[in-house]
Symmetry: D2
Subunit: 295 residues, 4 copies
């Protein structure tokens, strides 16, 4: 089944204060996103600290998310790894467990070319669910030109999409939509360019914002043909969307938002990770107080 257009929220992985996996919070977290009206959730992405987990913990997150979602929303699973073999193994396991899609980023140090194309092709041929190709050069350093991405589409299972996070994203979204009209493109990067990505032809966004209801409303307004409403909601939310998307401390800020909203019990980030500073916590508090979705 294809991925629904709209908002797919990338989930943080909840930990207790001792950094152990908090599956109870994973459940409430999923309920939080479902209640916000998202089309799907994505576990074990960059924001989910996937590379900080053991394989056993990954499996618990995957199983917990699928069980708690219980078909209410689509569940995609990040399976990126340094080898084709390990990525494919994880992808096949995710499909068997019931995932709606798997997300695959190019291994760090790859170069857009035939070897990388084979990586995606070999993974794709093991699957019947869609692949989300993650185009995020800031992590891993791999630049994938528009034509390379467009060509990949032919190698992947039906319904596969690109999660485009190579800024400026509106420009590349428009170019990729033109080069491969049948390939859906989703935005990312915290939704900070969501309005412009939608205008450029994106099908929605897959991102880790702790404010999913805002993203849902923006996409809904856009799809309902109400650009003014989409713009109003986007602009009202932008100060907070931008603040929570800061480098280094962004994950800690988002977990703090989720904690304050009752979605998770504890804002702990796995170490090593610099703590969120007092200055930023205070600013976050003010932003949260002020930020309400306009009626």
């Amino acid at each position: 089944m294809a991925l629904s257009a709209g908002v797919h929220s990338v989930l943080a992985t909840p930990f207790r204060a001792d950094e152990s996996l908090d599956e109870a919070s994973l459940h409430t977290l999923i309920d939080y996103y479902v209640a916000a009206g998202v089309a799907g959730v994505l576990v074990l992405g960059v924001l989910g600290e996937a590379d900080k987990l053991s394989d056993a913990e990954r499996e618990r997150v995957q199983a917990g998310a699928l069980a708690q979602a219980a078909g209410r929303v689509q569940v995609a699973v990040g399976v990126s790894a340094a080898s084709t073999a390990l990525t494919a193994e994880r992808a096949v396991a995710a499909e068997r467990a019931g995932a709606s899609a798997v997300m695959v980023a190019p291994p760090a140090g790859s170069v857009a070319g035939p070897v990388l194309r084979d990586h995606f092709r070999r993974i794709g041929e093991r699957l019947s669910i869609p692949v989300v190709v993650q185009d995020l050069p800031a992590v891993g350093g791999v630049l994938m030109p528009v034509q390379f991405l467009a060509d990949l589409a032919g190698e992947l299972p039906p319904g596969s999409v690109v999660k485009l996070e190579d800024p400026p994203t509106p420009r590349k979204t428009a170019a990729l939509r033109e080069a491969a009209p049948a390939l859906p493109v989703f935005g990312g990067l915290g939704g900070t360019a969501l309005l412009h990505e939608l205008a450029a032809g994106s099908a929605g966004t897959m991102t880790g914002s702790a404010l999913p209801h805002v993203l849902v409303e923006i996409v809904a307004a856009h799809r309902a043909g109400e650009p003014e409403r989409a713009k109003r909601v986007y602009e009202a939310a932008l100060p907070l969307l931008l603040f929570e998307a800061q480098p280094v401390i962004g994950l800690g800020l988002r977990k703090e938002i989720l904690r304050r909203r009752g979605a998770i019990a504890d804002a702990t980030v796995r170490q090593p990770s610099p703590p969120v500073d007092e200055q930023s916590l205070a600013a976050l508090g003010e932003l949260l107080e002020a930020a309400e979705v306009p009626a």
Copy 2:
């Protein structure tokens, strides 16, 4: 003389369609920023395409800016180079020509340590005007920890400051203010975090936004003890501030804004540089129509 608190605008360098230096536009550009009420302008920074100019062109930009500013605002000059010798030569020439300050970034590939500290010290001892230390790891890749910057202050002429562009900037601003209370810190990065940088103790911003009146009003409101007004203006401007600050096409977008506002005759960027796409130009047009500073 010390650099004034407030807004110092980093100037684009205007070119004609044939990419030759357009000194007439440099004059109107300076008038545009002076009219916006900035405390100073800074020529030959990253946004000024300084490394795309010959030494002779640099000198023409410096001379033209100083003559046109004519003491109405402070004029700082970017003098960064790969060697201490060349940086110092440029800095001394800028001081002789009448610059209020010089900006120096660490040479690409430097490591924060005694060799880099000597670089700044040797430049500083040739000068009586302040040095603006540019802390922009995204260009050049040099990480300068808070303590390294705090220690630099003792090596530099009186009134020297840091232009802090190592995100998250509010966090580092607060930390540097605490480590070196006598060292003024300015923000940058297009003013996209200006409100939070001011809250963290910044003295203002030195940045290349094409919307200087907005930045001026935010700083003025903050300094007047009107945080609600500062916040309102900042949040109203954020969609456009963020849009014009995009990577890759940001310079072209800002030159287009300046052209539309009559500040320069032509939006040409020196090649090689990817063109601004239609999608982004259209979005810019809509943003500009909508964007007005709230009364």
Copy 3:
């Protein structure tokens, strides 16, 4: 027990042509290195394609290596991971399984400072075996200054060492030996600078060369006070040491050497990985024919 001075060989992980783990070849590989007279072997390092393995495969490699070594040589295990929690979990498991030491590299994106220091400290306090701190900025991008490394020594179990691969290595080896005389330093980088590292005070090398007998003889000559012999062997081996250490294809070349020498059954590298070209295979053949350790 402390790590012995001398040569600790970093092992490739053998795969069959279908990229599955080849444990039989792991056994012959260990015998190959033991026969060469190394002091130890290190599994699951960068050359071991550790990040291309599942946790279950890692465990099989660790168990297979320990069983086959059977106390004939020391066995160190690479346990680097993006989180303190996962690194510590792997390290504790390695100690329990009987490893002589664990190797830990700083997580990618870390900055030398208190947060990273805590990472090493927390791992160290869970262990009684030594930690090998891997200083390899080319992978992960983390620069660790001499003083940071020297200070780390106080946080780690007795006998911990640094595997120094931040070129130029002779210079940093000498500086670290001076800053922390009690902290043993080993070289790496394929042994291409081994002679100079020994002169600078290194205790030996931990590296992935497929030619361990050469490295063993160089270190033995050096320790026997026969510098001329050490130099002669090093210089005779350098053409091949340098050739097998090439970027991108180095792993494939080393596996090919090991295959030709009967140490493993197949030279397969896990995908995605560019194939070794004909040109380089031919050159390798000629080098191998010519290369004999001088009597």
Copy 4:
């Protein structure tokens, strides 16, 4: 006129102890390389600290080199800059001054594609002398695939070549020779892979070794159809070639060799630059004593 096959030595720029340009040493340096039998010299490359010089100093180096070479060897001039305009201006000036060729590297941050191709095309159409395309991703970070380089050939003046420094160089040399048989390829990287580059089809090397007579002999032996002699000389020289090519301190080591051999008066490197350490100087002394070209 085309560039001669063989060795083109990249020249260091000599400075006095006070870091001022030492033109007298530039003259003796050129004589040193001419006496070694090189086909050409190249000034203002990376090793020449070109980006540490003012435009006026660049012009003095170019004029001094051309005058002193006096037609005895070809003289190529590095003209790389961040803009097409400045690069072309420098290139045209070099041709007028009598240079045999100009070297152009892609501006840092470029992406192999139409915009970069235009950069080279626009420079090339202003020239009648050949362009040396520098393919050195370690500086500037630009990856240029084989096909991109092959296609560039059609945009450049007759006789243009590639200076290929994207390791592993033998592999890429062979691939580029196959993709564009009419495009000569030279090696670089200190000649440390010269033997293998020649075997892969290179026309020689353009590099900054302080030991040009060795490189000349290797190429001569190769072209004379005496592979055994080429191999013997290469392998005898490798310990020193590799040592002088070390990162960070390589330039200082080469200047020290040149000083000891009387080619320049002073080994000063422009600051900021870490000093060569005692350990490395001592090792250099031993290597120089031992290193003699086999008769």
